[in-house]
Symmetry: D3
Subunit: 133 residues, 6 copies
């Protein structure tokens, strides 16, 4: 169930086709996942979202590709986005994430969620030594 | 402002002292941050929380120490825990996180938050190919 | 799958019937959505919830009906309530929301989610000029 | 307290100066708020963030400027971003938001938060009629 | 720092005075906390909010007063509302919450936060036996 | 749909079998729910998670078993964990939660969610009297 109707032939719109072509070329696959298919209801939103994903996730930078995916998965789990958890866990696995790394990432997320709530529940004041402002 | 009164001499309790001693030995520093000082109001909660932090974060595993801290920071930002954002950003920096890595991590968190909301707003169905169940 | 059993003939309870009748009269439709059907397991909770929805959403006020629905959808997306995202997107569309307005609302929600996380991650202090207290 | 050190003379970096100049020109004010001042620690992140804020919030579109700000505030409240709540409430007021509109927006956010939790707690199934997929 | 200006003499408005009088009578104290003082910027919002707090929290029902407060604190911690964590922890303590109960409640919240993230990260399917729908 | 493949015969691993045996003995039932079945992909994560659940939820303490479950459900609702909402609502019902208690708990969660957002939206300052620090 979705809140927008999927377009029958999204690539009949040249702006959508250009984005889909770039996704296929960048990711070296014919597969276009549902996020892009549904975002196609608004070509401008599709274009700007893909441009940012490509810029942040697909270009060389200060972090390696697997670390990037694990940060993405962590955010997606806490934000509760089922689609994103699935798509980025698959992406991390394609980039080499082992079961042991997957389990350790989940253990850290679980521990962080616990200590986050403890610190918030106690309203622990931030130590002055942590300030950089 | 906090919801529990800090203990005047927490280490007069031998259970608290044992945990604080282990924190100092494990982290090779005399500094005990406020989370531990406030958790000392309940020695059992202090003990179990520290035991888990030590097990998950301070022992060799499948992920390197800096990646672990970045996963912890990511969770803490989305969970909105000011104390934890400060303490784990400081820990990540102590483990070598550069400004460029910090900025890239934040860019990924921001992008994930955006696409998480887009996928949730559109209620995008999960592609069958992502299923491992 | 739900956590309460739906009632077979909820309108056999006169309190439930009165609320359902008022929903039909207020919304000028015979359709009663599942939120009301499941809330019927506790007539008092059904009554107070509907009374508030009617007061806040169905009476003239300072905001027009479509703006109200977009605020409702925005909250529902960030709170991750699938049912509410669906029902209020349908309501907004019934009140005239176009695809262009839908896409623009989603773009703002995505941008806000990103800058919210950036400001939280950096722990940006609030400028004094913003204070009204 | 922040997690990055503010730069002493951020505009000595020409990329930062170009963004700050564009903020001043676009918003017709000399005031640069703290989000931009702290994002200046990474000029690329500053540039991409401002470019998106300008594109989404400062250009004519399908929604009027005040509605946009109220959507932004709503997201910021639920995401718990204190800085963003302050800055966008001030922006909304500058664009004409009255106390009555402010109160009504808060009433809708509060009602949505309540019904979001009720629907989630009951795990209410989405009515088939809402599906557009 | 707040987003609305506090009223100098809020009780000069008879609607505000009536609510404040009822708070004092119901809670048997002269103290009016800041939530009510700031909500006074909109008497209708103040009235409806207090009416609901009084109905849900101050009348006999199916749960005892301390259990109610612990449910309220739990929600407030996860929602990240600093004001509410403080005010309801104080209320719970006034109703007899011991340090041991406080610590146990926090341990449960921390454990729930952890298993919530594990189940979400793994996307664990709900067992059919749990369904009541 | 899940992000890890379920193990065909999880109890062929003696560490998994030991945990499953302890779950059956502690809960006095042959039923092992899906959280444990999926956590079995990493025996160490399964062991530490079960050990904590057993310690916090299944041993005598300062709170009665039903209150513990209601705190767990409250956290799970706000964290949006569908699996946990289902499993802990079932557990609470098994421990005697009536429909009236269920409805009252949901009413408190809904009220808290509302006032949490109001206090956050207004950025209400914490009254000094609440501080224990």
């Amino acid at each position: 169930m979705t809140t927008v109707a999927p377009t029958a032939n999204p690539e009949s719109d040249p702006r959508v086709k250009a984005v889909f072509d770039d996704i296929r070329a960048t990711r070296k696959t014919d597969f276009i996942n549902n996020l892009w298919r549904y975002l196609a209801f608004d070509p401008a939103l599709l274009e700007s979202t893909w441009a940012e994903v490509k810029r942040v996730m697909a270009q060389p930078g200060a972090l390696d590709p697997l670390t990037r995916e694990m940060i993405y998965i962590t955010a997606s789990i806490i934000n509760g986005c089922s689609f994103c958890i699935h798509s980025h866990t698959a992406a991390a696995r394609a980039k080499g994430m082992t079961d042991a790394q997957h389990a350790e990432m989940l253990a850290i997320i679980g521990l962080a969620a616990k200590t986050n709530q403890l610190a918030t529940g106690l309203q622990v004041p931030v130590d002055a030594v942590f300030d950089r402002g």
